[in-house]
Amino acid sequence: MILHTLISYEVLRLIWWLLLGVLLIGFAVTDGFDLGVGMLLPFAGRSDIERRVIINSVGPVWEGNQVWLILGGGAIFAAWPQLYAVSFSGFYLAMFAILVALILRPVAFKFRSKRDDAAWKARWDWVLFIGGFVPSLIFGVAMGNVLRGVPFRFGTDMHIFYEGSFFGLLNPFALLCGLVSVAMLLMHGATWLQLKTEGPVAERARGYGSIGALATAVSYLLAGVLLWRFVDGYHLTSALPPDGPSNPLLKTAELHGGAWFDNYRSQPLLWLVPALGIAGALLSWLGQRVRRPLLALLASGFAIAGVILSVGVSMFPFILPSSLDPHASLTVFDSSSSHLTLFIMLVVTVIFLPIILAYTSWVYSVLRGKVDERAISEERTHAY
């Protein structure tokens, strides 16, 4: 195979860095509203029928949405094997908690309406709440820890050693990032409910969603200030050849206050990325106040994209800094797959991602329209 040399290793790595962002955003924007709806379930729905309306608003689509996460996991494995190996094993118990939530969530969807028993249903409602809240929180906390650097190092033959504990993840900055994530997905889920439902459910969602939007903007801004003032960034202290071998031990790096803002200083246009995060949240708030749910949903999607991209942009070229051994930090240019693998994966993605987007849109358009009590009690559909 000579074909892959058509695109240089450097460009492929940059493309895969972008695609990593696309997949994370794809997950947060689609499955994000499912998670948000799960968190809102006990509060936005008071009666059983209201709660069934809420669940059925995501009923036909959550399975497909969750594939973004699975695809994200697979793509990180294929394109950034060391990132996958270090982060999944390092955050072991946090990952386990996410898995538990993700196992229970589908099951709760399926099982809740199988018995006409208030206690049974209430139990599954809380499972759905936890299934939405826990992953949202942990994803944010994980992002916060990635920004602070993670205590890992490489031993002989590149064996990975992680020298932190689960409770070490729960530091104030990371918890604030967790709050950003929860607020953001709450806002997103609430705007979805306003689009798909009407009456008291939509009204309550409007209340929670407006608070969520403001909380997103405020907590994100606060996290930015903390990142600037109190969290040391990393910067390279040696050359890092963009087409070098994927061996993270060949460069040097060190901690440096405010280093996560270097990229903005050298490319001021990049400020547009975090600005998108804040503007999106504010626009979503406005959209909810003036009862334009579609606008609010789209704006909240942009907010999510802005927030996630800003993490990547701040850290570039780092993708997983090591607090234990900064030189061993993973960067875009020394922890990817081989040139050939990145190329093959890109070809497959270029072919299939548009197809996925096309049929996903088609499915959403078939399922468009409000979910209301009548639709559920008509029993013509396989309602949850």
């Binding site: 009923g59 036909p60 399975e63 497909g64 594939v67 996460l69 699975i70 695809l71 996991g73 697979g74 793509a75 494995f77 294929a78 394109a79 094997p81 060391q82 996958y84 190996a85 999944f88 094993s89 072991y92 118990l93 990952m95 386990f96 993700l102 196992i103 969530r105 589908p106 099951v107 969807f109 399926k110 099982f111 309406s113 199988k114 018995r115 590149m158 064996h159 990975i160 071998p245 994927s246 061996n247 797959s337 081989s338 050939l340 693998t341 093959i344 497959v348 993605t349 299939f352 991602l353 049929y359 996903t360 499915v363 078939v366 399922l367 029993e379 013509r380 559909t381 396989h382 309602a383």
Partner: protein, 536 residues
């Protein structure tokens, strides 16, 4: 060593994989059966076939949710528990997993919602297309997973890169067209079709015995028997192909399955029965069938099938070569730049790199394989023998069950052709009691394939023992106990829901036998309120 992290990690992986594999074969097979039933509905316009699709669809849905939930666990676990594995082979192994998501799982999971919620929202033909897309998605899913798994059994198209200290793809086409992966794919999906066929056959037989839903039961049995017979035949024939390929690529696996301690003159005999004893290296009470193994394994009367002792002896020389490769590798990695690598080290590495993995086998006994004593090398050689007793019997149970499924589906195929499905109630009872058996066979198949690969996680390349993450035993215990607790509770609930849905049956007001579903077409769903405790 009682809480060894390698053993705990293997325990967790085996447990979660075997559990996941309870749901996968039924999903793969039932999706195709649903598509077949709905095709008949669209072609004939007879409502009973739509009711059948919807009824089996409810059972499909309960099963599908569990498959999805437990599948995420599998994908995350490579990184969580097998971080060195992920680093070492992610460049090759990650790609089929990611492609599975892009090409197959997205298709399956996006359209499965529409399968359940879309009956009244689209035309008959459009819905049929959706059902087929779910079936194609789940089968393609199996293809990519088995390309990944096939590569673990026969790591084709990749080479070790000393600069990055990992395996990298050299020929992606060879990864895709890996003959082991192809054979495994067809064998595994056929097994899935068999699982689903026996499931549909058994449940329908139960209705027939109870005199309920006879229209649905009879037609379902016909579909299940014919589809099941074709599948069961294909499982056995392609299982044979798999065995033939193993003789080429995994000689130790074959020798262990056959408990063949010593090389026999060709053509080797097949041991139909016996109790292999790993300690004394002999098989007690063995019953031999002359020539059979030689025929299956080599398809000749003249080629030898090597025995365990000879394989271990040749492995020791591989280990010595591996140590040379490891030594050269350390020299190469110690050099600060490519130009500084001594030519001799490079040449040594090129010559022996194929056996690098054999040096890593010594890591169980010594940190630096170059310091290994002859005793360690001998021990590592014997480590190459997987647990013979378990393999020997798992294989025989699997094959025996496979033969039984052929007989069972053939019997019902004949009965259905003669329109005498309910002529022999005892046969219906056999079909009901056969329901769990294909699962037993499938799990045994997993054990033969994956336990037979031990001590390697990637055959000849990476030993399982060095592939694990450096986790604490307590951490692993927490996750193992957590999985056991959740999986047990979910299994109980899942079984209850399945049984409830089956007991409830397809409709609250079944038409009496012989009376066609006249009004069914006017009314879109014949399903009752909250159909079958329904949802997708």
């Amino acid at each position: 060593m009682d809480l060894d992290i390698v053993d705990l990690s293997r325990l967790q992986f085996a447990m979660t994989a075997l559990y996941h594999f309870l749901f996968v074969p039924l999903t793969i097979g039932l999706a195709v059966i649903l598509a077949i039933m709905e095709t008949v509905y669209v072609m004939t316009g007879r409502a009973i076939w739509r009711d059948m699709t919807k009824f089996w669809g409810v059972l499909f849905g309960i099963n599908f949710a569990m498959g999805v939930a437990t599948g995420v666990v599998m994908e995350f676990q490579f990184g969580m528990n097998w971080s060195y594995y992920s680093h070492y082979v992610g460049d090759v192994f990650g790609a089929p997993l990611a492609i599975e998501g892009l090409m197959a799982f997205f298709l399956e999971a996006t359209f499965v919602g529409l399968f359940f919620f879309g009956w009244d929202r689209m035309s008959k033909v459009a819905h049929l297309v959706v059902t087929w897309l779910v079936a194609i998605g789940s089968n393609l899913s199996a293809l990519w997973i088995l390309i990944a798994n096939g590569w673990m059994q026969n790591p084709a198209g990749a080479a070790f890169n000393p600069q990055t200290m990992r395996m990298e793809v050299t020929d992606f086409f060879a990864v895709l067209t890996n003959p082991v992966a192809q054979a495994k794919f067809v064998h595994t999906v056929s097994a899935g079709y068999t699982v689903a066929s026996i499931f549909v056959l058994g449940v329908s037989a139960w209705y027939a015995l109870k005199g309920r839903h006879l229209q649905l039961a009879r037609r379902s049995m016909t579909v299940a028997a014919s589809f099941g017979l074709a599948s069961a035949l294909s499982v056995v024939v392609l299982g044979d192909e798999s065995g033939y390929l193993s003789t080429e690529h995994q000689k130790m696996k074959v020798a262990s399955i056959e408990a063949m301690w010593k090389t026999e003159p060709a053509p080797a005999a097949f041991t139909a029965f016996g109790f292999p004893d790993q300690r004394t290296r002999e098989t007690h009470f063995a019953v031999h069938i002359p020539w059979l193994l030689g025929l299956i394994g080599t398809r000749t009367l003249t080629k030898e099938v090597p025995g365990i002792e000879d394989l271990v002896a040749s492995a020791e020389s591989h280990i010595h070569e591996g140590i040379q490769a490891y030594d050269a590798l350390q020299t190469i990695r110690a050099a600060r730049s490519d130009a500084e690598v001594p030519a001799q080290a490079r040449a040594d590495f090129e010559a022996h790199s194929g056996y690098l993995g054999y040096a890593l086998l010594l890591k169980r006994y010594v940190d630096d394989p170059r310091q290994a004593t002859p005793e360690m090398i001998e021990k590592a050689g014997w480590d190459l023998v997987p647990p013979v007793f378990s393999l020997y019997w798992s294989f025989r149970i699997m094959v025996g069950l496979g033969m039984f499924f052929i007989a069972l589906t053939a019997t019902f195929f004949v009965l259905s052709a003669r329109r005498r499905l309910d002529a022999h109630p005892w046969l219906l009872k056999v079909a009901v009691f056969a329901i769990p058996l294909p699962w037993v066979a499938a799990e045994m198949g997993w054990i033969v394939a994956e336990l037979g690969r031990q001590p390697w996680v990637i055959e000849g390349v990476l030993p399982t023992a060095v592939a694990v993450s450096n986790l604490g035993a307590t951490t692993l215990l927490i996750s193992i106990l957590g999985f056991v607790a959740i999986y047990t509770v979910l299994f109980v609930i899942e079984m209850k829901l399945m049984l409830k849905a089956i007991r409830k049956g397809p409709a609250e007001h079944p038409s009496p036998p012989g009376v066609p579903h006249a009004k069914a077409d006017a009314e879109p769903a014949v399903l009752p309120r909250n159909p079958l405790g329904a949802s997708s």
